[in-house]
Amino acid sequence: MNSSNEWKFTRRDVLKMGAMSMTAMAVPRLVAAQAAVETPRQPVEAKVALEVNGKAQELSLDTRTTLLDALREHLHLTGTKKGCDHGQCGACTVIVDGRRINSCLTLAVMHQDAKVTTIEGLGTPDKLHPMQAAFVKHDGYQCGYCTPGQICSAVAVLDEIQRDIPSHVTEDLSAKARVSRMEVRERMSGNICRCGAYSNIHDAIADVAGGVA
């Protein structure tokens, strides 16, 4: 049974073939008009200078390079993860000029002179950031893939509450923002954990925030 040819294909190959046959079917109908006039475009390089984890960096990049790819592929800071690459999972969360963002949904060249903090810049193995230590203590992960994004996001969430930025679950917009279980849950909704370590992630954040019911 296992000698049959179909076993030479991996699941990924089959998916690729499926996608190709869809494209082949759709191309003549949908994009033929565009294809006839379009000439291939050449990649464009641009320079950008930015500070990453306190260190000045100068890069010459294809303009298409996202901040995420600049960090991972060019600066080899692979702590920041690529999950969905569409801003839906939060694995790529970094802190730019004091604010958490999805590094996959922004171009590196748009960040001239920006100050970027990645998971590598928050702490070191010898000297963990309090949020990193709390994630270890509370077991706030299983596979760990989403963890750098979770931690960067969590650090920024506590800062956002400190700066009195309200959230969807803030009951009174005229009162100062406070830390609560509901607030942390809502504010962390842009970071997905498919292992489902959410309750421990919450406990880690609550610990750093100084204890939350």
């Binding site: 869809m22 494209t23 079917m25 759709a26 109908r29 949908l30 994009v31 475009r41 050449q42 990649p43 464009v44 641009a46 294809d62 303009t63 298409r64 996202t66 690459d85 569409h86 801003g87 939060g90 969360t93 604010r99 958490r100 963002i101 999805n102 949904l105 922004t106 171009l107 060249v109 748009m110 001239q112 996001s153 920024a156 969430v157 956002e160 700066r163 009195d164 930025i165 309200p166 959230s167 969807h168 803030t170 917009l173 005229s174 849950r185 809502e186 504010r187 962390m188 909704s189 842009g190 970071n191």
Partner: protein
């Protein structure tokens, strides 16, 4: 993603004129929607004009007693502004119900208004879509349509507008300010800003080629109870199935705009006038002539009930 050239604009007028004279150019600000669309091949700009350096990121009082919100004010900052929280709580609530914290930190006021639909057939370049490729057909009609428009749609397109912020802006009677490539300026009432699909669903707003949004102004605060109720498939970080932006005064008068039901924020004068009669009377006007699909007919019931719940809450606040 197809290669593109890139420039940083140094004035709104320069940005507008560069956009008008460069074929295939797009403005980029927050980029959270545009880059997503470029990765999927829905958008293929050959040139990006980065407007982030423009001096359009302030919230200032207007001479009329309202607020002028710069085009580049980030969603987080607009929602957190003390004046907005006090005088336009509806706007704060709508903004905070949208996207995630990371996205709100990047997304801008102007970009939020110009968001593209999240119709899955628009996003998938292997599917027909009259909005993405005029004349190719509509995959949603006869397809998977539970998230789509129930009113104001056409035979060409049943997509919805995804913005929460725009629904609040519509209820608040905001005005969009622009600069044109020739340097002239224009003020567009939000009611006339977004368009219905008709036979040209690829046209979504009133902006001319190259025209750049510089600000959105809010009129004097109207007070009253202001609520934004959003119903979605999960408790956070999802687009609306139905949303209700409601302003009610003590005498029961006010206005209602709805999101998730049409190609633009959905509001009608006759529906506003029916507000003192209750949710059913309002919904009757808002959904007059609605043509839902079998899969999204639930939205009409859901919209009426969501409004009814909001009215109850508003009454509780006024008491």
């Amino acid at each position: 993603m197809k290669p593109f050239s890139y420039e940083r604009a140094d004035s709104p007028k320069a940005a507008a004129s560069a956009a008008a004279r460069t074929p295939g150019a797009r403005f980029i600000a927050g980029g959270t929607n545009l880059l997503d669309l470029m990765k999927t091949g829905v958008e293929e700009p050959s040139h990006l004009i980065d407007v982030n350096g423009l001096d359009l990121d302030r919230i200032e009082p207007t001479d009329e007693g309202g607020l002028r919100v710069g085009a580049l004010v980030r969603n987080t900052d607009l929602a957190a502004d003390a004046r907005v929280r006090r005088d336009y709580p509806l706007l704060s609530r709508a903004l905070l119900s949208g996207a995630s914290g990371q996205l709100r930190n990047k997304a801008t006021t102007a970009g939020n208004l110009l968001q593209r639909t999240r119709c899955p057939y628009f996003y998938d370049i292997n599917q027909p879509c009259n909005k993405r490729l005029p004349g190719s057909g509509c995959g949603a009609i006869g397809g998977y349509s539970r998230q789509h428009a129930v009113v104001g749609a056409s035979e060409a397109c049943i997509a919805t507008h995804p913005s929460d912020m725009a629904v609040a802006m519509r209820a608040l009677d905001a005005t969009v300010e622009t600069v044109k490539p020739d340097g002239g300026t224009r003020r567009i009432p939000i009611a006339q800003f977004h368009t219905l699909p008709g036979s040209t669903p690829h046209i979504e707003h009133a902006l001319a080629p190259g025209e750049l949004i510089t600000a959105v102004t809010l009129p004097r605060p109207v007070g009253g109870a202001q609520l934004y109720h959003k119903v979605r498939d999960r408790a956070s970080y999802a687009f609306a199935l139905v949303s209700v932006a409601l302003i009610v005064q003590k005498d029961g008068k006010g206005c209602v705009a709805m999101g998730g039901v049409a190609h633009k924020p959905w509001r009608m004068e006759a529906a506003d006038a029916a507000l003192p009669e209750g949710a059913a009377a309002v919904a009757k006007h808002l959904f007059d002539g609605a043509q839902p699909t079998e899969q999204n007919a639930y939205k009409i019931t859901l919209a009426e009930r969501t409004l009814a719940a909001a009215l109850v809450e508003a009454k509780g606040r006024a008491a």
